[in-house]
């Protein structure tokens, strides 16, 4: 199975569609690579994947580095498997801004899941400088969805706008806080706390976790995200967990399933799906513009000269840039 071009121009990956649908690991893996490579020849295959997706419950998991996301995903996915469902995992780590390369280490913690065909784990890099994190990782989610995984977990690092975007592309967002990393709660997460549908305080086997739970609950009562901002008045729970003792893992799974049911019953699911798709269209448009801008920097220099001597303002130049994209 090589996904080679077989004659036609835009059929890259077409030969993988059947395999993806049947849950063939190799086909799923190749298709995700095609999503990541973003070649124009694979657009029709990815469009077909999109058509077949839309059934999975997608759960975003975020939190500062070291808060215990991967370890939690490991035990949580195991609990999900015990309930008879198939689990896809997309684990995202940052690319180096210097080389563009990345060390993707989340798998090191996911040792409970090896050898289980009902779990598919894929690591992806943010490729920060090139943009497009949201697009390619959400297309990876589409592939897993089309392959029939019931639950899909996206692990991202809770820093950076791209990553906030990608967890917001989930139906259920879980934000993890860990004891001992307290200061970050106020600082970095100012924006992240508000997007949580479920809060987890991890490592609750540690003595200092009670303070974190109290802090967090305090912050939530003062919090900016009022209850009515959540679809149909969902109460955001705070779930203490320990990956070590497995305490709270069943509670977390119950909260995730509960949120899924709540969305379905309240009509919130349709609303969320609409928001997610809107964001994806917008993000993809941004990607296309950015890429076009990079690829055609030379041809745009005339335009840029006029902005530089202030005979044209950036707004007009941007409109001209969009015109040119549409001409091709």
């Amino acid at each position: 199975m090589s996904a080679k071009k077989t004659g036609g121009k835009n059929d890259l990956g077409m030969d993988l569609l059947d395999g993806v649908e049947k849950g063939n690991v190799r086909a799923i893996a190749r298709m995700i690579s095609l999503a990541e490579a973003a070649k124009p020849e694979s657009r029709p295959a990815l469009a077909e994947i999109f058509r077949r997706a839309g059934n999975a419950h997608v759960i975003g998991i975020t939190g500062v580095p070291g808060s215990g996301k991967s370890t939690l995903v490991d035990v949580l996915a195991k609990a999900m498997r015990a309930s008879g469902r198939r689990v896809g995992i997309v684990a995202i780590d940052p690319s180096s801004p210097f080389s563009g390369g990345a060390i993707l280490g989340d798998r090191v913690r996911m040792t409970e899941l090896t050898g289980d065909d009902g779990v598919f784990i894929r690591s992806m890099a943010t490729r920060g400088a090139l943009g497009g994190l949201a697009r390619s990782s959400l297309e990876a989610v589409d592939v897993l969805d089309a392959a029939g995984f019931d639950l899909i977990l996206i692990e991202t690092v809770g820093v950076g706008q791209d990553e906030v975007d990608v967890v917001q592309a989930a139906h259920t967002v879980v934000v993890i806080s860990a004891p001992g990393l307290g200061d970050e709660i106020q600082a970095i997460k100012a924006g992240i706390l508000e997007i949580a549908d479920i809060h987890v305080v991890s490592k609750c086997d540690r003595a200092d976790s009670n303070a974190t739970i109290t802090d967090l609950k305090g912050m939530l009562t003062l919090g900016v995200r009022a209850m009515d901002m959540h679809e149909g008045g969902w109460r955001v729970p705070v779930v203490p967990t320990s990956a070590e003792t497995v305490e709270g893992i069943d509670d977390l799974l119950a909260a995730i399933d509960g949120h899924g049911r709540h969305l379905a019953d309240s009509g919130g699911l349709e609303e969320r799906r609409r928001q997610i798709l809107e964001m994806r269209v917008l993000k993809t448009a941004e990607d296309i513009i950015r890429k076009d801008f990079r690829d055609r920097r030379d041809k745009l220099s005339g335009l840029m000269d006029r902005v530089r001597d202030r005979s044209m303002d950036p707004h007009e130049a941007a409109l001209k840039l969009l015109d040119r994209i549409n001409e091709d």
């Binding site: 090589s2 690991v25 180096s96 390369g101 090191v108």
Partner: protein
């Protein structure tokens, strides 16, 4: 629209019971600094786990490091399992310590390259790039 150059994906695994992960972490950093995406899976992996991870991650190169002397049984096992999964295009590079005769035997079996201990970083990067170039686009 032009395409981005394909980023080389590598999975590094340490198979067998032997010790620490300092060496393999250094290699991971070297490869990242050369612009590659490196999936690191930790210590004490079994051949089955390594193959499952390499296939799911759809890497170009599977780098297996081992010092235990069990390479003549572990590596053929990995190559067989890759073939069974229809993933023989994932190139296997072995790192470790072994006699010349074993190097030749492993290459005979289908290992793309063997990097003996103390291979300098530049040579590791160059070797992986060559292995992927030789395979060609997929």
């Amino acid at each position: 629209m032009n395409e981005e150059p394909d980023v080389i994906r590598v999975l590094l695994a340490k198979v067998g019971l032997d010790g620490h992960d300092r060496g393999i972490k250094v290699v991971a950093r070297v490869l990242r600094d050369a612009g590659m995406d490196v999936v690191y899976t930790g210590l004490h992996r079994t051949p089955g786990e390594v193959v499952q991870a390499a296939v799911q991650e759809d890497v170009d190169v599977l780098g297996v490091s081992l010092l235990s002397g069990a390479h003549m049984t572990i590596i053929p096992d990995i190559l067989d399992q890759l073939k069974e999964t229809g993933a023989a295009d994932i190139r296997v590079v072995v790192g470790g310590v072994m006699p010349d005769g074993d190097v030749d035997a492993l290459k005979e079996m289908g290992v793309a390259e063997v990097l003996l201990q103390d291979t300098p970083p530049d040579a590791i990067v160059a070797t992986l790039r060559r292995v992927v170039a030789r395979r060609g686009p997929r």
